[in-house]
Structures are given as structure tokens and as C-alpha cells.
Amino acid sequence: MKLLYFAWIRTKIGIAEEDVSPPAGVDDVAGLIAWLKGRGPRYEAALANEAVVKVAVNQEFAPPTHPVRPDDEVALFPPVTGG
């Protein structure tokens, strides 16, 4: 699974992207975030306030119940501020 991080989620975690292989049972967005938070203090800090963590699966906005699969591109980012 390819993970992408943007804006302050990127700076807090310290990398822009990575390939991960979550364990079986991590099969939706909420489960993925919970698993990531357990990977270390940087992840925990970046994802602490889930109300401001937005997720896109394969470049479409995805709610916590959206499934994630091994070949997905999953992006985590704060609320958008363009325009």
C-alpha cells in the first residue's frame, strides 16, 4: 500500500510517502489510521486529532468506513486551503 502525506501531516511524520504492508484486519480507513498511530510518536502526533485528518483512497475523498486494499494509494492530509 502506498501512503502519501501532505502539508503539516507530512512535516509532523517527517516523510512525504512510504510503502507499507499493514497486518491482516486493517481493512478500512479507520483501521489504517489506528494502525499508523501505533507506529511511533511522530505518527501519533500527526494523527492525534482525527477530526482534521482527511483521507483520499486512490485520489477520491474517503470516509472512515471506506475499504483499503494492498494495492491502494492512500493519502492523509489536513483540510484543504486552496483558492
Partner: protein, 154 residues
């Protein structure tokens, strides 16, 4: 119909003149140009860096433009959005809508910028005297976008 994401500046006059490509059914073009301000939240801003999600950005802007076209009788529409490091006074974004009549053009232009602000994956970081600061999403932007939500569109 076009969406473009670029680091380079754009020429507003040239973009609007090119819109529609000589289509004489167009009776009016409405446009909005967003600029970098030199103050935000009471703090001086010396520069702004815009980050985006390549791939998803193009996709979302195309969706937003298609939705505008579905809602209003547009002859043409344009979204140009910059990324990278910008200075106060620099242009950030241009949206424009061309239609036979002004009401559709005005409304579609307003819709394009309101939806872009809440749906396109861009993030702004401002340089302030206290150091760089990520811009938070404005509740006003959600309120502005909410006026365009229709039961069949969401």
C-alpha cells in the same frame, strides 16, 4: 473547458480573451482572481508556499468544472491554479465562466471558487515573523460552499 495547475504566473487578459475560442454565442464572461495578501490573522505575511496533490488535484478541478457545466448553461469555463512559493500581490488562482447571459456566468464563477476552496487538495503555508505557519481551513469557506449543495449533488 480547461483546468491547469502550474507554478508560473498567468496573464489574466490573455486567458479571458482565449476563453471560448471565438464562440460568438458567449454573451458574457465572469471571472475571479485570487491574490496573496500581505497580512493574515493580524500577522505580516512575507511569502506563501502552496502545496498540492498531483493527480488528485487535476481530477478534482475537472470534477468541479464538470459540475458547474451540469448546473449552468456554460459555453466555456477555466480554472488556473498556481503552486510553489508566491509573494504578496502574486496571483494564486483564476476561475472564469462564459455563458450566453450574465446570471449563469456570475453564479458559475462563484460556485467554481467556493467549491475549489473546499474540495481541491491544495494547502497553504505562510511565512510570518514567527516562522512558517500552515493555514487552517476557514469555517467561512465551508459556509460559502454549503450554499451550493443541492440534495441531488451530494
Amino acid at each position: 473547458m480547461a483546468v491547469r495547475i502550474q507554478s508560473d504566473d498567468f496573464d489574466v487578459g490573455a486567458e479571458l480573451m482565449a476563453l471560448g475560442g471565438g464562440n460568438t454565442a458567449i454573451g458574457g464572461i465572469a471571472s475571479f482572481v485570487g491574490l496573496v495578501r500581505d497580512i493574515a490573522g493580524g500577522e505580516a505575511v512575507s511569502a506563501m508556499t502552496l502545496e498540492h496533490y498531483p493527480g488528485m488535484t487535476e481530477r478534482k478541478l475537472a470534477e468541479i468544472e464538470a459540475e458547474a457545466r451540469r448546473r449552468w448553461p456554460l459555453q466555456d469555463a477555466l480554472i488556473v491554479h498556481r503552486y510553489g512559493r508566491l509573494r504578496p500581490g502574486d496571483r494564486i488562482v483564476l476561475v472564469a465562466a462564459a455563458s450566453a447571459h450574465r446570471e449563469a456566468a456570475f453564479q458559475a464563477c462563484h460556485f467554481l471558487i467556493d467549491w475549489l476552496k473546499t474540495r481541491a487538495p491544495f494547502w497553504k503555508q505562510e511565512d510570518t515573523p514567527d516562522g512558517p505557519r500552515w493555514v487552517g481551513a476557514a469555517a467561512d469557506d465551508d459556509t460559502a460552499a454549503a450554499r451550493w449543495v443541492t440534495p441531488d449533488a451530494e
